[in-house]
C-alpha cells in the first residue's frame, strides 16, 4: 500500500533534551494511524515538524512518495496536511463560515463572497456527515460542534491528511462516539488521519495501526486489531502499569462533608448551583461526574470559601463553614487540589519550596513572629519532594520550570501533607501522563483508606469509575442522580451527564 506520509529517522533536539530521536513513522493512505505516547514523549514535536512549525535537525519527510521540506505551515497546507488543534482556534463572534474561510476568503471584487463560501461549507459538511450549520455563530454552538468546525477548516483548505491532536479531551462520551464516526467517514472518503492520543480506549475503537513513542523514540508500530491494551500501555510507559485501581471494600464512616440546599450564583448573577444536597463520609471517595460547566467549579469554590454561597449550608465535621474565608476553611480540615493548577494551585514564580507552604507559612515551625524560617521550609519541601516523587532539580527551582505532572504532584503533596479530613480533588489528573495519573490516583485511594473523605470532581469518566465508591452526576447545578459504580455503565452515565434521567433504571450489561 502507498504511504501518504513517511518520516524517516527524524531527530530534533532542544537545549538539554532530545525530543525526537530517530523516529520513524509511516502512514498509509486511507488509514487512521494512532500516535500513542505519554505527555512529553515527543508526539507533539513530531507533528509540529510535520506541520512545518519546527525544522528537524536530521531526517527526511516524504509526502505521497516525494521528498519534501516543510518550512512552514503554509507549505504543509499546500501539501494537503491539516491540523485539528486541541485548543480550538476559533473566533466566538464570527459565524461558522466566517471562521472557516478566515485567511483564504473567496472574494468578489473587494467584498467577501459569503454566499459562495456558505454554500461550499454546506457541501463539504454534508459530504462528510458533519451536520454543521454554516451560518450559526461559534459562541452559540456546542464544543463538539466547534471541533467539527475545526475539521471543516482543514477540509475547506483541501487537506487530505488530517492530524487530530488529543481530540477527545473536551468531549462527552456521546460526542466522542460521534467524532469516531466522523473519523471513519473521513477515511472512507479517502482521507488519511493521524490521531495523537494517550487514551488506549480510543485507539482500540477507531485506529487501524498505532505507533508507540516513548522518550523521543519510536518503539513499534502495531496493527490495532491484533494488539492488546495492556501490552500497548506497557510499551507506552516502558513498564507494567496498573490501569485500574485496586480498592479494598470498606464501610464508610461518619459524615465529614454535608451540603444542604446549597445555591450559588456566578459572576453574572445566574444561579449555577441549585438546591444541591450532598454528603461525603469518612473513608469514601465520592465522584462527581458531569460535563464541564454544570456548576462543578462553583460548587467547589463555594465549599472552599472562594465564592459566597447564596443560601444553604455547608458543614464539615458538623461545623458550619458556609461563610468561612479560604483560610478558615483550610483550618477547619479541608484540603483542595484545585482544577487549574496554574491559576490557583501554584505561584509559578515562587520556588517549589515556597509553594509547599502556601497555606501554612504563617504558623510555626515555618515562621515565628512574622519572620520566615527558610531552613525549616526547605527541609519540609525536600521531604515532600522525596515522598511524592516530585522530579525537580531542587526545592529552590521555580515551580514554573517543572513539568505539569510534577507541578501537580507538588500540589498533591502539599494538600495531603496537611492531612485534611476532607480532600477536594478537582480534575486532579487533567493533562497528565499515565505514570503521574497512576501515582495521584494511588495517593487519593491511600487517603480514603486512611479514613479521610475525598470529594473527586472529574470530567473523565474513567477516572470517576476507577476511584469512586459512589458517583453523583451533576447536571445544571443539581445532583441529577447518585449511582453505584458497580451497577452502572458509561452509557447510563453519559445520558445522565447530558441531563436525561433514564426511567428504566440501569441498562443491562453493567459496565463495559
Amino acid at each position: 500500500m502507498d504511504n501518504v506520509i513517511e518520516m524517516k529517522n527524524i531527530r530534533k533536539e532542544f537545549p538539554g533534551v532530545v525530543a525526537n530521536d530517530n523516529i520513524n513513522l509511516q502512514v498509509e493512505k486511507g488509514e487512521i494511524h494512532a500516535l500513542l505516547g505519554e505527555n512529553g514523549a515527543g508526539k507533539s514535536t513530531l507533528m509540529n515538524i510535520l506541520f512545518g512549525l519546527y525544522q528537524p535537525d536530521r531526517g527526511e519527510i516524504y509526502v505521497n512518495g516525494e521528498k519534501v521540506r516543510i518550512t512552514d505551515a503554509n507549505v504543509a497546507n499546500d501539501l494537503g496536511i491539516g491540523m485539528v488543534h486541541q485548543h480550538f482556534m476559533l473566533i466566538d463572534k464570527f459565524t461558522v463560515t466566517e471562521n472557516i474561510i478566515l485567511g483564504s476568503e473567496p472574494n468578489k471584487g473587494l467584498n467577501i463572497d459569503r454566499k459562495k463560501a456558505e454554500k461550499e461549507v454546506q457541501t463539504i459538511s454534508e459530504q462528510y456527515g458533519l451536520a454543521v450549520d454554516p451560518s450559526a455563530k461559534v459562541e452559540n454552538i456546542s464544543v463538539g460542534m466547534q471541533q467539527r468546525v475545526e475539521i471543516l477548516k482543514t477540509l475547506y483548505r483541501g487537506a487530505d491528511i488530517l492530524i487530530f491532536d488529543e481530540p477527545t479531551a473536551v468531549l462527552t462520551p456521546q460526542e466522542i462516539d460521534e467524532l469516531m464516526e466522523i473519523m471513519k467517514k473521513l477515511v472512507e472518503e479517502g482521507k488519511s488521519i493521524i490521531l495523537i492520543t494517550h487514551k488506549l480506549k480510543e485507539i482500540i475503537k477507531v485506529a487501524d495501526r498505532c505507533t508507540v513513542i516513548r522518550l523521543g523514540k519510536s518503539i513499534d508500530t502495531v496493527d490495532v486489531a491484533e494488539a492488546d491494551p495492556d501490552k500497548l500501555a506497557t510499551m507506552m510507559v516502558g513498564r507494567d502499569v496498573n490501569l485500574s485501581m485496586e480498592r479494598s471494600n470498606k464501610q464508610p464512616g461518619k459524615e465529614i462533608l454535608s451540603i444542604r440546599n446549597l445555591n450559588v450564583q456566578d459572576e453574572r448573577k445566574v444561579s449555577v448551583v441549585n438546591q444541591l444536597n450532598l454528603q461525603v463520609h469518612a473513608g469514601e471517595i465520592l465522584g462527581i461526574a458531569g460535563v464541564d460547566g454544570n456548576g462543578q467549579v462553583e460548587l467547589v469554590e463555594a465549599i472552599t470559601g472562594l465564592r459566597k454561597a447564596d443560601s444553604g449550608e455547608i458543614l464539615v465535621n458538623n461545623k458550619d463553614i458556609t461563610s468561612f474565608t479560604p483560610r478558615k476553611v483550610f483550618e477547619a480540615g479541608v484540603g483542595h487540589i484545585p482544577q487549574d493548577r496554574h491559576k490557583h494551585g501554584l505561584v509559578l514564580d515562587f520556588s517549589v519550596g515556597e509553594n509547599m507552604v502556601l497555606q501554612s507559612y504563617y504558623h510555626k515551625p515555618y515562621s515565628s513572629k512574622g519572620v520566615l524560617n527558610y531552613p525549616v521550609i526547605y527541609n519540609k519541601a525536600q521531604t515532600l519532594i522525596k515522598e511524592f516523587d516530585v522530579r525537580t532539580p531542587s526545592e529552590l527551582t521555580p515551580a514554573r520550570a517543572l513539568s505539569g505532572g510534577n507541578q501537580q504532584k507538588a500540589i498533591v503533596a502539599r494538600e495531603i501533607d496537611r492531612s485534611p479530613d476532607l480532600l477536594i480533588a478537582a480534575q486532579p489528573t487533567r493533562g497528565l501522563d499515565v505514570g503521574a495519573i497512576e501515582f495521584i490516583h494511588s495517593k487519593l485511594v491511600e487517603e480514603r483508606d486512611r479514613g479521610k473523605a475525598v470529594l473527586l470532581v472529574s470530567f473523565e469518566l474513567d477516572e470517576i469509575f476507577n476511584l469512586s465508591d459512589r458517583i453523583a452526576v451533576m447536571y445544571n447545578g443539581e445532583i441529577l442522580a447518585e449511582v453505584d459504580p458497580d451497577e452502572t455503565n458509561e452509557q447510563e452515565l453519559g445520558l445522565l451527564m447530558a441531563g436525561q434521567k433514564s426511567e428504566a433504571g440501569v441498562p443491562e450489561g453493567g459496565r463495559d
Partner: protein, 350 residues
C-alpha cells in the same frame, strides 16, 4: 538564555552602554565631541570631592523613590504617585522641623517619621480605592500627585511663608540631617546623613520581601492573586499594605529634601521636581531589587550632577543627558531586543 541570572545582569549593563552610545551619536549629529563630553560628565560626577558629595546628595532621595516604585512593583502594583508621596513627605518633615521644639534625638526621628507617615497615607488612599472599589492605582496615584503639589503649595503660601522668598523658614537645627563633617570633607557640598536613611531603607525592603511572612504574602499576591486567594491570603489587605509601605519610602525621600538638601520647602509653582518620576526609571533599571535600585540611583544621580559640568566644560546641552537616561530605560524596556542581539551573537560564535 541558558543562565537567566547572568542575563538579568546583562540587560541593564548593556542598556546603559547602548544608552551612552546613542547619546554620543546625538552629540556627533549636533557637532559636539562625545568623548570630551563624556569625560566632562565623568569628572563632573566624581572628579572632585565636591562633585562626589553632590552626586551622593543627588542619589540619596533617588534610592528612596526607586525603592518606593520597586516595592509596589514587586507586589504587582504600579505606584506612579511617588512624586506626590515625596512632596507630602517633604512637607511633613519640614512642618515638624519648624513647629516642634525638642532635643535632636527626639526631633530628628520624629521629623523623619512624619515624612514616612505622610507618604504612607498618600499611598494608602490609592491602595484602599484599588482594594475596595477596584479603581486603578495608576489613575489615582497620578491625581494624588497634583493634590499633593497644590495643597502643600497653598498651605505654605497661607500659613508657613517665610518673610523672604517663596518658601518656608528654615527648620530648626535639631531636626536637620546636615552633616557638617562630611560637608567639610567634600568642599562644602550639600551631602547629608540622609544616605544612611536611604541605605537602611534598602535593607528594610530586602528584609521585608525576602525574610518575612508579610513579604511572602506581598510577593505571592503580586505574582498570582488567584493562587494567593486560594491559599487564604487577603488580596485586598495586601494591596493596601503594599501601597502604604511603598508610599512610606516615597515620603522618606521627601525628608531627604526637607531635612537634608534644602532645610526648608519651596512653593513649587513651576510644577513637579521629578525625583519621584525618576524613581520609576531607577526601579526599572535596578530590576526592582534593593541592590539594583541603589546601583541605578547612583548612576542616574551621577549623570544628573555630571550633566551640568558637561555643559560648562564641553558646551553640550544637559538635555542630552535626559535623552541618554531615556534611551537607557528604552533599552531596558526593549530587553527583547537585547535578548535577540545576544542570541545572534552566540550563533555567530558557533
Amino acid at each position: 538564555m541558558k543562565n537567566p541570572r547572568y542575563f538579568n545582569l546583562l540587560v541593564p549593563i548593556l542598556s546603559v552602554i547602548f544608552g551612552l552610545i546613542v547619546g554620543g551619536l546625538i552629540m556627533l549629529a549636533g557637532g559636539y565631541n562625545p568623548f570630551s563630553a563624556y569625560a566632562a560628565l565623568f569628572e563632573g560626577a566624581i572628579g572632585s570631592s565636591y562633585n562626589l558629595g553632590e552626586t551622593i546628595r543627588q542619589f540619596t532621595p533617588l534610592i528612596l523613590t526607586g525603592l518606593a516604585v520597586a516595592f509596589a512593583f514587586r507586589t504587582g502594583l504600579f505606584n506612579i504617585g511617588v512624586e506626590g508621596q515625596f512632596i507630602v513627605g517633604w512637607f511633613a518633615s519640614v512642618y515638624v522641623g519648624l513647629t516642634v521644639d525638642a532635643p535632636m534625638f527626639i526631633h530628628l526621628p520624629l521629623a523623619i517619621l512624619a515624612a514616612a507617615v505622610a507618604g504612607a497615607l498618600w499611598g494608602f488612599i490609592p491602595g484602599l480605592l484599588k482594594a475596595r472599589l477596584k479603581v486603578h492605582e495608576v489613575i489615582v496615584t497620578i491625581m494624588m500627585n497634583y493634590i499633593a503639589l497644590h495643597v502643600t503649595n497653598e498651605i505654605i503660601r497661607a500659613y508657613l511663608k517665610a518673610s523672604s522668598g517663596e518658601r518656608t523658614e528654615e527648620i530648626s537645627a535639631t531636626a536637620s540631617l546636615a552633616a557638617p563633617f562630611f560637608r567639610q570633607l567634600t568642599d562644602h557640598s550639600r551631602v547629608h546623613y540622609g544616605i544612611i536613611v536611604a541605605l537602611l531603607a534598602a535593607f528594610v525592603m530586602w528584609f521585608i520581601l525576602r525574610k518575612t511572612t508579610l513579604g511572602y504574602e506581598l510577593r505571592s499576591v503580586g505574582f498570582n492573586p488567584n493562587a494567593s486567594q486560594y491559599a487564604g491570603m487577603s488580596v485586598s489587605r495586601n494591596i493596601i499594605l503594599s501601597m502604604t509601605i511603598s508610599g512610606a519610602f516615597g515620603g522618606l525621600a521627601g525628608a531627604m529634601a526637607g531635612l537634608g538638601t534644602y532645610q526648608y520647602m519651596t512653593i513649587n509653582t513651576a510644577g513637579f521636581i521629578g525625583l519621584g518620576f525618576t524613581g520609576i526609571a531607577v526601579a526599572l533599571l535596578g530590576a526592582n531589587t534593593a541592590v539594583g535600585t541603589i546601583l541605578a540611583a547612583i548612576l542616574f544621580g551621577g549623570l544628573k550632577v555630571g550633566a551640568s559640568n558637561m555643559q560648562f566644560q564641553a558646551g553640550v546641552p544637559p538635555e542630552v543627558i535626559k535623552i541618554v537616561m531615556a534611551m537607557i530605560i528604552f533599552f531596558v524596556g526593549a530587553s527583547y531586543l537585547i535578548r535577540w542581539l545576544l542570541n545572534r551573537f552566540r550563533k555567530g560564535e558557533n
